[in-house]
Symmetry: D2
Subunit: 215 residues, 4 copies
């Protein structure tokens, strides 16, 4: 039985990944804020110290509300530093991934094309992407694949909150639609199901041809 | 019945992709140099003008022998310009991809980290990656996903020819092994099988954590 | 006396670089199409075989007219392959750069963010950027610095031809203006003047904060 | 009189930049840890709230000692989050840059090629690079250029501490030598001196052809 822990697994993309992994027989622990609040370091420590090993770890968390640089307070930087960066570091430090396992990070397209409204996410999600890239080389020795999925515009509650006119926005996208959480779920499932292991240390844009940079 | 054309499908990575697509019931035309020689523009035109539509197109071709810049002749630049760039452009111009289809490009990790021994590949495979990126936005309108897979060190005949001491090289890799062509085959299969469509306009390193750049 | 060859030095950015280098006492050969036509391989060979050494080489050339992928002919690919890629390769193969010298490539922002209207430029300028990156490591041994400047929207005749409404476009730019050719000239001058040598093997966006990718 | 504030201006690269700016007549405030300790938020606030405007701001600071991921404590993450990220954010929030000015960030080549020994630097310097990229678009409206210089191996005390065998390392570099702090000083000077303004929102590798990624 393959065990999976999906942080932020109770809704949106995390929920879809949880369901997709269940479809192929994984035993999934899909956490909500009740089990672990990644913005609270004590909560993170308590949670991660009580987990045993896992085969699959999905690092996923919501982002802060849209906020412009000059209005961000010191406390907000600290809070989201915990939520988007330090919490994940502590989880990786404390939860043991079994040999042959997977670590999936659900980051965001803003790690490559930083967004002025999402400056906190842009910065800290990118910082953690650097950490995962470094660690991917060590994990590779234990045949653990580290895969950073960077979603673009996905059909979640959050997108509806961030975008003013969703219909107009949707029509401006190359595929004329938002991505569905289920597509990311299916993608994660397909990798695990087919034992794709050499895909590691990689950032994968998942944005329906929306980005403009060649990479 | 899903139809697939796999250029360079008679050996190595192309062969593995062909087999993987057959496993899920695709009707695969796996070409060898007999059907189409991508270094020969006339051969490319003849082949691509006689194909009808396809659902899946895999653009894959071998590279030139290792050669240092100052020893490359004008004729060699021209030949491999055909093989690695212009031939693929003409194929895309002439073969119609059905709505909801896929284009996979098998490029190379040298598009991001150019290799002095593989300067011809580094340059022309990158040039074609730019073309595919641009076209991915148009293809997106027809729900056709364009996916550029950039393999690192894979266990093929070519790698054995290029690397002096394969064992030593292998041990220096993060996973302690080369990637298997079958892993790329499985990856392509898994995307088609699970109808992952929003993954498009993307370059995916497939190198077992071997690259050093954050992206 | 420092000698400089500026390809495409009779107008636009090339002309500004030529003038800037003259200001600091360089002996500049600023070529027009009379001296060398980079789209014509015979012309390139004739020119480059008759040059002796140089201290500074500026590789600069105009681009093709805007054209959409499906309307580009085989002959056009071949022509601009010569102009934007092969011609520069042959120049580098034939003209000797003196120790402690500089090679400047004037590429374009489309090497990072490929442009559907400028697909030929996007592809071939990027291909040549790969070649220069590779060669920069060899040239480094002779203390020759290779600097790839990738201009964004610059106030040249070409920009006026490519952009429909220049005023509107200009106002949409972060600095509210196009870059001036003289600014690139000054930048090249400043590097030579201050003997900045460790700046090498680098691509430098020169676009007034216009690009969106973090790098 | 052009005013410049150089954070970390008392030694290494910061000192060289300070001296170079003085050579062209700038009034330079080169801070040491006495004036401002970027790892201490109170110190940062006290310093930055007492500065008036400046024309040039150089954001520069030393990095943490080399440390492997699993040995980094929560307190160390917090401390260097202050030093390499939050401190700089607060400086930018509090010190006003005059129209037509410059912001230089001295980051590191590890922002592109993260280094396992320098994981803290890799992550937080990259995070701040994202912030500066975003802000560069706003600053552009006031003709303020934001330039992120990412030095590779430079001849500083720090490099001597980090590298085991400096001679061996030096010989392995493309130019056969480390970069000199003075070269970065000269580069910064040359940009200011020649009023190069359209160079903005850019990350510039300064590494003597040492990096391997095409960008």
């Amino acid at each position: 039985m393959t065990k999976a822990i999906v942080i932020g697994g109770s809704r949106g993309i995390g929920k879809s990944i949880s369901e997709s992994l269940q479809e192929i027989g994984c035993e999934v622990l899909a956490t909500s804020r009740k089990e672990i609040d990644t913005s609270n370091i004590e909560s993170v420590k308590k949670f991660s110290e009580h987990q045993g090993n896992t085969d699959i770890l999905v690092l996923n968390t919501g982002g802060p509300p849209a906020k412009e640089f000059f209005s961000i307070t010191e406390e907000e930087w600290q809070k989201y530093h915990n939520q988007l960066f330090l919490g994940f570091c502590l989880i990786l430090k404390n939860i043991k991934i079994n040999e042959g396992g997977y670590i999936f990070l659900i980051s965001s397209s803003v790690i490559k094309e930083p967004n002025p409204k999402l400056i906190i996410s842009s910065a800290y999600r990118l910082a953690f992407s650097s950490v995962l890239k470094i660690l991917s080389k060590d994990f590779a020795k234990k045949n653990i694949s580290c895969i950073n999925i960077a979603p673009g515009p996905i059909n979640t509650q959050r997108t509806k909150e961030l975008v003013e006119n969703v219909d107009e926005y949707t029509q401006s996208l190359p595929m004329g639609r938002l991505g569905e959480p289920k597509e990311i779920g299916n993608f994660v499932k397909s990798i695990v199901q087919n034992k794709v292991k050499y895909l590691s240390g990689v950032v994968i844009n998942f944005d329906g041809s929306n980005s403009n940079h060649i990479f």
